[in-house]
Symmetry: C2
Subunit: 407 residues, 2 copies
């Protein structure tokens, strides 16, 4: 620790750096400044945010206002609960499978049905593996890698091999795949294209960890939407669930009927809901900062504003790729390009040149553009805290680098 500790915050280096990391990622400076003050003294109480009782009225207001702002941003219907928990997306791989298996068995009075997964990238691959580990009968209704040898194109729904609706416990998909730069094209998974009986009977579960709040989502068409905070929302450490209340109520005894395992208590959605996210001590700091980000986004034109900026930013970078005459090459099919994570190779995957590009960016203050270790190449993440001007700064560097190294 440096003594004496600072009481004046130095933010001078922030504007120098453009952090395009895939998550944890940039947060708005104004939100961080407010959080810093709240850490020391929350609203003149003399008690810092993380020193409040989580059962106090003061913290309840923090929870309530975060929930209410999120409801307004995403037009969440009344019959959906908003829940704050821990463990990230990875813990939800287990929790979604366990809770939906229990729900399905209780609802139909039989052993749990099949878990359908759309495997469109690295994260949904992990989800289906964990669904199977949890004892679920799983089915990949589509698997881009099996089909194409790599993740890069999402097959249209008419090509998906769905389980029979009456035997299916959920349809799970990941709306945006950060590692592979793959996203369902706007406005999102075309749920209306699913067969009638399937759409009406099968709970749809979405992992929106990396693109929530970047475009509207039809909450009412889902049974569950979850997201870790550390991309578009806030600091790591909080996971947010938007869950249809009927799904929670159906949960009879916290375990999977017909011989399935018990669900660890912190993973039981009903426990979280019955206790208004205070079943156990919540990650107070991450929740509060998320709430401030919601407020900040409302002031910036809400989800509509974010969607517009996201399209513009993605458009800027992808058109630079497309106009580079093959110097830059997107790794994703044109119909499945992510607005959040732009992934590309340089000169057909020239490792040396890609390393040079990462360094070139670093010299210009542009950080964390190296692709995920499992796929290589370049990845620039354009989450909500990245501005259109920031994207222009990246594009300028790309053009300059291309000018120096193409031909």
């Amino acid at each position: 620790m440096s003594f004496p500790p600072p009481t004046t915050l130095d933010t001078s280096n922030r504007s120098r750096i453009l952090n395009l990391g895939a998550g944890p990622s940039s947060l708005p400076t104004s939100v961080l400044l407010q959080s810093a003050q709240d850490l020391l003294d929350y609203k003149g109480t003399g008690i810092g945010l993380c020193e409040l009782s989580h059962r106090s009225g003061t913290f309840k207001q923090i929870l309530d206002s975060a929930e209410s702002d999120l409801r307004s941003l995403l037009s969440i219907p009344e019959d959906y609960a908003v829940l704050f928990t821990q463990g990230g997306g990875t813990e939800q791989f287990s929790a979604t499978a366990l809770n939906l298996l229990a729900y399905d068995a209780a609802r139909h009075g039989r052993a749990p049905g099949t878990l359908d997964y759309a495997v469109t990238g690295s994260w949904s691959s992990k989800a289906i593996k964990e669904g199977e580990r949890m004892g679920g009968r799983v089915k990949a209704v589509t698997d881009s890698k099996k089909r194409d040898g790599k993740f890069g194109r999402i097959a249209p729904i008419e090509e998906w091999e769905l389980s029979p609706a009456s035997e299916c416990a959920m349809l799970y998909y990941c709306d945006n795949e950060t590692v592979d730069g793959v996203e369902f094209p706007s406005p999102g998974l075309p749920i209306h294209q699913l067969p009638d009986d399937y759409r009406k009977n099968v709970p749809i579960v979405a992992d929106c960890s990396s693109n929530i709040l970047s475009r509207p989502i039809d909450v009412a068409a889902h049974s569950l939407i979850f997201f870790g905070a550390q991309k578009n929302v806030g600091p790591p450490g909080v996971t947010i669930l938007i869950a249809r209340k009927s799904l929670l109520a159906r949960h009879p005894d916290e375990s999977i009927p017909f011989g399935g395992p018990r669900i660890p208590t912190t993973l039981v959605y009903k426990n979280l809901a019955d206790n208004s996210s205070l079943y156990n001590t919540p990650p107070m700091f991450s929740i509060h900062v998320s709430g401030l980000v919601f407020r900040h986004l409302i002031e910036q034109g809400g989800v509509k504003g974010a969607e517009q900026r996201s399209s513009e930013k993605a458009q800027l970078v992808y058109s630079t790729i497309d106009e580079s005459k093959g110097f830059y090459e997107g790794t994703t099919s044109a119909t499945s390009r992510s607005r959040m994570n732009v992934t590309f190779r340089i000169k057909g995957g020239d490792d040396g040149l890609e390393g040079k590009f990462v360094e070139f960016c670093k010299e210009r203050g542009i950080e964390q553009v190296k692709g995920h270790r499992s796929v290589g190449g370049i990845r620039a993440s354009l989450y909500n805290a990245i501005s259109v001007d920031d994207a222009k700064r990246l594009v300028e560097a790309m053009r300059e680098f291309c000018g120096q190294h193409s031909g």
Copy 2:
């Protein structure tokens, strides 16, 4: 959000308030000031603490230094791993049972043995219930409430009814019970008093969430020590495990052999260890602040210093109780009094007078002394961030109130 957000931190109200909450609880002001700066710009990188990649060298240094300071504070032997995870103590109620059942079955090549629990308060009561929910055969080796009708006295080990060592998967105890103000007397659970074969063969698991770092603990006598951060360590959102490495290595396939359930992936200790606490995105802020608290404690004389201050603070308050001629009455037997949470009643449990005392304290800036809703009365928590002078401030208020209302 208030605009423009502050760049100068206002801490003026902090000295006015003495926060004796049972957790989340007070944190050192110097640690919070440093955290606030780090949120905006971590060590001049231009990137805030929660915006760093968790796989970056910068964050690895944060993890490594938190671990190394904790190792030094608690003299943790080399053959123990230090792991950072999420979900709090409540999630560990499930995880301890599941992992220890798996370890036991794999180690002995038979169905998992019995889980022994010392039920000495509200938290260990929850732990044994969850152990049973997870499918464990459980045994309360002692249960203060069953014996005395309330939690208040820990029975000596010679009265405990232990399972046969060869059939026992773990002995679980909670070192300090925050709700009930009950703590194992220093130096802690007298493990050497356990029968030889039991001590040598049964893994001992301790929940030290509310008294870790307030006195030395014999790590080598335990297989696992865990604690949520939000009392003596840091902000809520991180749980720290100290685990014997052989326990982690023994874990064959992440599931409980002989027909037990699979363990959700984020709860498998081996996964956390194999990935150096980066199996999934960690709660970076809570980890960093915990690390700063470790550093702060080292500068304050380490665990020895904390132990000395803890004794002095507890002594001050308990002697005020004992000298009040029955006006104040401790709820805990003299041999099981907690140094962390001093619980007492006023005039034999006069609700009205207790309410007045809470108000009386509040007027003097002393906050959160109301007892836990399940037991009532008064509770003053004297965690590491509370100074001896703070305890004197409480004692003064107690004396003054007694002077006004006794007789």
